[in-house]
Amino acid sequence: MDLACRRGERLLFRGLSFSCEPGAALQVAGANGIGKSSLIRILAGLLRPFAGQVESEGAMGLVDERLALDANLPLGQALGFWESLDGCRDAGRAFEVLQLDPLLDVPVRYLSTGQKKRAALARLLNRNCPIWLLDEPLNGLDTQAMKSVEALVALHCGRGGIAVVASHQPMALPDPQKIDLARFSA
């Protein structure tokens, strides 16, 4: 694998290798700007690595700082587009777990940062995919929501899913494999 990432003229990290088995949680740590988000985007196949390659089996779901929901639509409808793309029939449970039910009629642009994050997580849940890529999933969430996200990740891994989490906040993950990007910085 030996991943390396370059942004502009700067080499962010190099020589990074890892693998994840089903049920594994991987925590990517490091200071701001060290390349956590870039690593997540490389894993998602959205960014080409400067060197190395990524191999994966199974569909991936991404939650990052970009919401990808229509700001003027009510939340329920905005999420509905992705549900129909993902072929999700039972969206209600994710809304319940993430306490989005009272917000489904509210236009997305009126939602707070934490509520938007919860909406993005609901889309991830409804995607029903084995590999989760989470870029700062706890940003803007209150303590209660943080707890339920940690529980969701634990449940996902318990069912044999893979979770890759980049977060600067401490996050309780089930038996996480840790990557400190600072050790690979170029």
């Binding site: 985007r41 998602a44 196949g45 959205l46 960014l47 080409r48 569909a59 991936m60 779901g61 991404l62 990052d64 970009r66 919401l67 990808a68 929901l69 229509d70 700001a71 003027n72 639509l73 587009f81 992705w82 129909s84 793309l85 993902d86 889309r123 995607r127």
Partner: protein, 219 residues
């Protein structure tokens, strides 16, 4: 295929007049405004208006096609919609093909309808109006295609909208030459050539726009 229908439905909801993210009826009003201003500017010489009016309608249509470009791609690019689509195996080209159809449907049919009052304002004959309508029907898909490709290319730039306007004009010149040129010829060859150019551009635009979106990720 059901995925494409979902995509197209969202794009139509976004772009159709009265939709959430499009330019609405602004291009239409702009188009009519040009047709209305022209007689004021050159005077009420019916013969002159009848001779040049068709060309004015073409220029107005070309300029009106620029107006919706600002929000055509950049909003979804910023929001990360194309990233999420890519994760679901929906290629950028596919997404752009859907957007091209929605974009054309959002501005062209209204423009064709508005051509009738515009032709009346300019005092065009029935024959000329028919040629203009057929020409626009053949040419507007090409204008939409050029617009989409340019909108995708400039989506990640600051002030991209103004640049998009400038870039569309030279690329649309072939459509204008043959489309407006059909007014001066008795046979339909000009319109057919316009349609051929349009088809070619429609085939190329999703590919070019898709590549532009992928390139924008790397920047």
């Amino acid at each position: 295929m059901s995925g494409f229908a979902t995509l197209l439905r969202r794009d139509l909801g976004l772009l159709l007049p009265g939709g959430r993210g499009g330019a609405g009826v602004l291009p239409l009003l702009f188009f009519l405004a040009v047709a209305m201003l022209y007689p004021f500017a050159v005077g009420p010489d019916a013969q002159l208006l009848g001779r040049t009016g068709g060309g004015v309608i073409w220029v107005a249509a070309l300029l009106a096609a620029i107006l919706p470009l600002e929000k055509l791609v950049s909003g979804d690019l910023e929001a990360g919609v194309f990233d999420q689509l890519a994760l679901r195996g929906v290629s950028e080209e596919w997404a752009m093909a859907s957007r091209l159809i929605a974009h054309w449907l959002a501005f062209a049919p209204l423009l064709l309808v508005a051509t009738l009052p515009a032709a009346a304002l300019l005092g065009l004959s029935g024959e000329t109006t028919r040629t203009v309508l057929l020409g626009l029907l053949a040419g507007t898909p090409g204008l939409a295609a050029v617009g989409l490709a340019v909108a995708a290319l400039t989506a990640s730039l600051r002030g991209g909208a103004a640049l998009a306007g400038l870039m569309v004009i030279p690329l649309a010149v072939p459509i204008l030459i043959f489309g407006a040129g059909s007014l001066a010829r008795p046979d339909p060859s000009g319109i057919l050539l316009t349609a051929a150019i349009s088809l070619g551009l429609c085939a190329l635009a999703p590919i070019a726009a898709g590549a532009a979106i992928r390139a924008a990720r790397e920047s």
